[in-house]
């Protein structure tokens, strides 16, 4: 591996000259080994306030029951399931980046997979808390498991998508956790071997005695590849099953066969947007511009255009099929979405998910950090509205016009949702402090093949096609971390 050089036509994945292995360790571990700065504390305190709000709101829900929410007898499912699906969707990018991109040998995953997987795990935790809190009697949460019991045994209904969902989410969470933690072992060992005192003891326990011997690494790579192979269908199955929560019902607007692929594309779309929202800040604050380069950002933006467009096509298909079906209930559900009392939510969804991501076709927008950051947040606002539109507008005007009504969230609904964002950021900020935000070993792997310095060396050796070199140098213009004057001389 280390003997081969990558084609000069590919953009570098690590920028900067004279980067050494020691420097990679040093730079990635600096937030872990040093005291946090002011920005971290401000973020952490804000996130903690959010998490406190979550505890209060969920505590209130547990004490008084889900009557504390704005639900009524027509709209029996609203912000709770919206929040759940939103979080599960966000939780798709991590495994997608670490598994699917590993299978496709996309080396640019190496510097973003760790944070993306951490984000996945925290997003799935947020989603899981929704499942438990909207059960009404959370102390009976174990009833979703097929456990032998004294009622017969009366088993769970294995035909129900809600039971499938329980299996899917818990499998997804635990497999993602295994994948993430196994990948972390070498990096925890790096921290361990540099630490002293109590820190060394703690990291020793969590490093599982990692030594980095040949056999360990060889098995490690085999395990990563197999886990990637099984996680790829897993990640696709999770949102498929989430969509079946709706698609197997007989509610107009839910009962469509397009839901599984449409939900999966939406999940990837929102997951990558969240990765961008987080990584653009992390990159700047932690000074990781050399590892998370403009190439990484542009690649993620391209995935966002693709998945955003798939989602757009799905919206239009849904609308067409509603008309084509000839079912007046189905037709009304869609007319009502676009022009009924919730028209603003529908058009919010359309604008944020379909129209604004198209701006990324422009190279200028794709390569602008502020524009990308704002668009990534817009996408997640749009994805929240998508779930809200699907769920609430399909329910609020049901078959019986006398029971038509609107949904108004109570403060507890808002508190649970805003609070869950606080929980997410609390966990993410803690992660940045105690574990490396970039997979150190994986970045070291590509230093000799895909870094700017290795390509510079190739250019200086001078056996390359002039046109290829010119093309390469041109591709470097977009990088904010590359010094152009280094190339002017050549």
């Amino acid at each position: 591996m280390s003997g081969h050089s990558e084609s000069i036509l590919r953009e570098p994945l690590i920028t900067g000259q004279n980067i050494t292995y020691a420097q990679i360790t040093e730079e990635i571990l600096s937030p872990v080994e040093n005291k946090p700065n002011k920005a971290w504390w401000i973020g952490f305190i804000l996130a903690l306030c959010g998490a406190t709000l979550w505890i209060v709101s969920v505590g209130y829900t547990f004490w008084f029951g889900i009557g504390a929410w704005g639900l009524n007898k027509t709209v029996g499912w609203a912000w709770d399931i919206t929040g759940f699906v939103w979080w599960v969707g966000i939780g798709h990018a991590g495994t997608l980046i670490s598994a699917v991109l590993l299978l496709f040998r996309q080396n640019w995953r190496n510097s973003i997979n760790r944070s993306a997987e951490a984000m996945t795990i925290f997003a799935v935790i947020c989603a899981a808390t929704y499942v438990v809190s909207h059960m009404g009697r959370p102390w009976l949460a174990y009833w979703v498991l097929p456990l032998p019991n004294q009622f017969g045994s009366l088993w769970v209904n294995f035909n129900s998508p809600l039971v499938w969902d329980m299996f899917a989410i818990s499998t997804y969470f635990s497999v993602s956790l295994l994948f993430w933690y196994t990948g972390l072992l070498p990096d925890i060992a790096t921290i361990r071997d540099r630490a002293t005192g109590v820190r060394k003891k703690i990291y020793t326990i969590f490093s599982f005695g990692w030594s980095g011997s040949v056999k360990t690494w060889q098995r490690f790579e085999a395990v990563s590849l197999i886990l990637a192979g099984i996680s790829t269908p897993l990640v696709l199955s999770v949102h498929t099953i989430v969509s079946m929560d709706f698609a197997t019902s007989v509610i107009p607007g839910w009962h469509t066969t397009i839901f599984p692929p449409y939900f999966v594309a939406g999940a990837i779309f929102s997951g990558f947007a969240m990765v961008l929202t987080l990584m653009l800040v992390v990159r700047k604050v932690l000074g990781l511009e050399n590892y998370i380069t403009m190439f990484h950002i542009e690649s993620m933006n391209k995935i966002i255009i693709l998945t955003g467009s798939i989602v757009g096509v799905a919206y239009l298909t849904e609308f067409f099929i509603a008309w084509y079906s000839g079912s007046q209930y189905e037709q009304y559900a869609f007319i009502n979405r676009a022009t009924g009392p919730y028209w603003w939510a529908y058009w919010m969804m359309m604008t944020c998910n379909v129209i604004s991501p198209q701006l990324l076709w422009f190279k200028k927008v794709r390569l602008s950090i502020p524009a990308t950051w704002i668009l990534s947040i817009v996408v997640n606002i749009g994805m929240w509205f998508e779930r809200f539109v699907i769920i609430v507008t399909s329910l609020h005007r049901d078959y019986l016009p006398s029971s038509w009504t609107m949904f108004y969230p109570s403060w507890v609904d808002v508190g649970v949702f805003v609070g869950s964002i606080g929980v997410f950021f609390t966990l993410f900020l803690l992660f940045l402090r105690v574990l490396p935000s970039i997979a150190i070993a994986e970045v070291k792997m590509i230093l000799k093949t895909a870094s700017e310095q290795s390509k510079m060396k190739l250019i200086k050796e001078g056996h390359l096609d002039k046109e290829h070199v010119a093309e390469y140098v041109e591709s470097l213009e977009k990088f904010d971390s590359v010094k152009q004057e280094d190339y002017a001389k050549i």
Binding site: M1, S2, G3, Y21, A22, T25, P146, G152, S153, W155, N157, F158, N159, V163, W164, F167, A168, T171, S174, V175, L178, F179, T182, L185, P186, T190, R192, D193, T204, I205, F206, S207, F208, G209, W210, S211, G212, V214, K215, T216, W217, Q218, R219, F220, E221, A222, V223, I226, L227, I230, S231, P233, L234, S237, T240, A441, E442, K444, M445, K448
Partner: protein, 178 residues
Amino acid sequence: MSNIKYILGSFGDPDEMLHGIEKLQENNIAIYDVYTPMPIHGIEAKLGVKRSRLDVAAFFFGITGTITMLTGVYLATAVDWPVNIGGKTHFALPDFIPITFELTILFCAFGLVGSYYASTHLFPGRAPRVMDLRATDDRFIIAIDAKQNTEHEKIDELLKGAGALEVKHNERKYLSYE
């Protein structure tokens, strides 16, 4: 001289280390192990580490998951408490594909990672068998058993000739982690 247990050649570059391995092997010096901060493709073949059989294990763990779910669901829905749902068959196989798939993946992943941890002796709190602290940072370490290979000076020369930045003579096998 005789107290030396292990000779460590510490390289700053993976290609130089691979070169060092070749040099040692040409001179019939057995290598105890190699410690690197990242996976280096190609050393396992040089050192004769056999192909991993974890993929075979993973397959059987996965199949166990499939069988467990299908049997469990069959017992619950068709034997123990059959429920008549619109006159449909009790064991409605298509409905159980998603959960069977999930359990297959779950068993496969846990079995695989469990076997990996067991076969490479990784578990929480295990004292790390570390010979050089920089092997997880920026050094590529070749370890040679000094008791079996007694030509210490020749080994030193070979390692340095291949580009080792440092050669260490350790009197203890592992660094103390107490």
